[in-house]
């Protein structure tokens, strides 16, 4: 799958789409593919303060539990409640199934993120894909 170029990526296999001061966060196609059937998504409450690099939630497949890591610091403004009842949507449409929206506290956090091309390269080098 081609990774959309309208957003940035992390080495923790998340995508981040930034519009103004608002960021939308989800997990990548590679992440859903390596997790397998996703059956549970646990997200923070609206208003929660996330710190870049720290765990903010969990995604569980049949087999495994994985932490979700905040790509940047900021406050949660919205969570995708749809994923509570239909977590399998992340498998079906990973780049459309956003997990949360947050305000961006420190624009410099963006500098640490990967472009679509760099992320694709990272995944290939990691031996995944």
């Amino acid at each position: 799958m081609a990774y959309p170029t309208d957003r940035k990526y992390t080495k923790e296999h998340e995508w981040i789409k930034v519009v103004g001061q608002q960021a939308t966060v989800g997990i990548t196609d590679h992440a859903q593919e390596s997790l397998g059937d996703i059956v549970f998504v646990e997200l923070p409450k609206i208003g929660a303060e996330l710190a870049a690099g720290k765990s903010f939630g969990t995604v569980e497949s049949v087999k495994a539990v994985s932490d979700l890591f905040a790509p940047m610091s900021g406050a949660v403004t919205e969570v995708n409640g749809d994923l509570t009842t239909s977590p399998e949507k992340v498998n079906k449409d990973p780049h459309g199934s956003w997990m949360l929206k947050m305000t961006m506290k420190n624009p410099a956090d963006l500098q640490d993120l990967l472009s679509a091309a760099d992320y694709e390269k990272f995944v290939a080098e990691e031996g995944g894909g």
Binding site: G36, D37, F40, E60, S61, V62, K63, V65, T84
Partner: protein, 360 residues
């Protein structure tokens, strides 16, 4: 086949096959419950005991009563330490008058073989480790019989559950065919020569023969969820060298009335003393998935036990777990909590097995 691989007791094993070919743990699991799936289970070990005192040897080292086996019949059993705890669980096949085959677990192969050899020295019986001689393929699910029947001259309708026969399979003469499995479903396990070319050829022939029945290859992930729904124990989880037969609830496979076997004396004592913990089935009531090793808490938040295996159950569509809890918490309907990432999440004791295959 592009499967996700994992190291399992030193074996490079597929966890699941890719979604692109209709697999993934949930699809693989459902295929076995409603159709058919195949598993490469060559990691399982095989020990053959043959000779005039083979039965006496098997009786001495296993807890079930092998004297009840007719030639061609198999039984679930276990090898025990003198303390009444588990060396391993096994399937004992009686292949001939004086010949038995023990099918053992991957992680315990060396330990099991050494243990069997050391504990049968006093019997006139040869003990052979055949683990590397066989590739074992499991064809599991209600349609497994239809798939395998296409590939063999043996009349499978005459083979009852937990019986074995021999026949030509995919051109391989005298192949051992057992109606056994680890999925709580009907199915067969075949034992073919371990060379790679033969194994690959047979695997592919089964895949082709199964196409019309919707057969899919299945990995360790589905094998685990299938056995969990059926409450089949996994060594190192529900049974181990510190857990005894009564705690594990395997009483019906332990025949105290037979004369003598390793572990019997300790089990006699343990029975009179009563158990301090019992394996129970849990179903999550609140939102959350119990996983192996998670703590079980009582209503007041006190730690009372632990989860041995926990997972979403794809066929039952519930989050289930097996756990050890003290007496007083074993009745169906008892409310407990499972600690999940620091939170007490509600669960309830339920009758087991969680899943029982429909009778035909």
């Amino acid at each position: 086949m592009g499967a996700k691989m994992v190291d399992f007791n030193g074996w490079d094993m597929p966890v699941e096959y890719p979604a692109s070919i209709g697999c993934g743990i949930i699809n693989e699991h459902m295929a076995v419950r409603t159709g058919v799936g195949i598993f490469d289970v060559s990691h399982m070990g095989d020990i053959r005991l043959a000779g005039p005192q083979a039965l006496a040897a098997v009786q001495h080292i296993s807890m079930n009563d092998a004297s009840r086996l007719a030639v061609g019949q198999a039984q679930y059993s276990a090898l025990l330490y003198p303390q009444g705890t588990f060396v391993d669980d096994v399937i004992v096949h009686r292949l001939a008058e004086d010949e038995y085959l023990l099918v053992i677990n991957a992680g315990t192969r060396e330990k099991d073989f050494n243990w069997v050899r050391d504990n049968t020295r006093q019997f006139d019986c040869a003990v052979e480790n055949l683990s590397d001689d066989f590739t074992q393929i499991a064809i599991q699910g209600p349609k497994g019989v239809d798939v395998l029947q296409k590939l063999t001259d043996a009349d499978l309708s005459a083979v009852k559950f937990y019986w074995v026969t021999r026949g030509t399979v995919c051109g391989l003469r005298n192949t051992l065919i057992a109606r056994t499995g680890y999925t709580a479903e009907d199915g067969f396990e075949i034992y073919i020569p371990a060379d790679e070319a033969t194994s690959a050829r047979v695997w592919n022939e089964i895949l082709s023969a199964g196409k019309e029945f919707g057969l899919v290859p299945c990995g360790l992930g589905a094998r685990n969820t299938l056995r969990l729904e059926g409450k089949l124990p996994l060594y190192g989880h529900e049974i181990s060298d510190t857990i005894n037969v009564w705690e594990a609830g395997l009483d019906r496979f332990c025949k105290m009335e037979k004369r003598e076997f390793v572990g019997r004396a300790a089990l006699e004592v343990a029975k009179s003393e009563g158990v301090i913990r019992t394996l129970v089935g849990l179903e999550m009531v609140d939102r959350g998935i119990a996983r192996d090793g998670y703590k079980v808490l009582d209503g007041g938040g006190r730690e009372i036990g632990y989860v041995t295996s926990g997972s979403p159950a794809p066929f039952l569509k519930k989050n289930i777990a097996l756990a050890y809890v003290p007496p007083g918490f074993t009745a169906a309907g008892t409310s407990v909590n499972v600690e999940i990432r620091g939170q007490a999440v509600g669960a309830q004791v339920v009758p087991t097995p969680f899943y029982k295959r429909p009778k035909k």
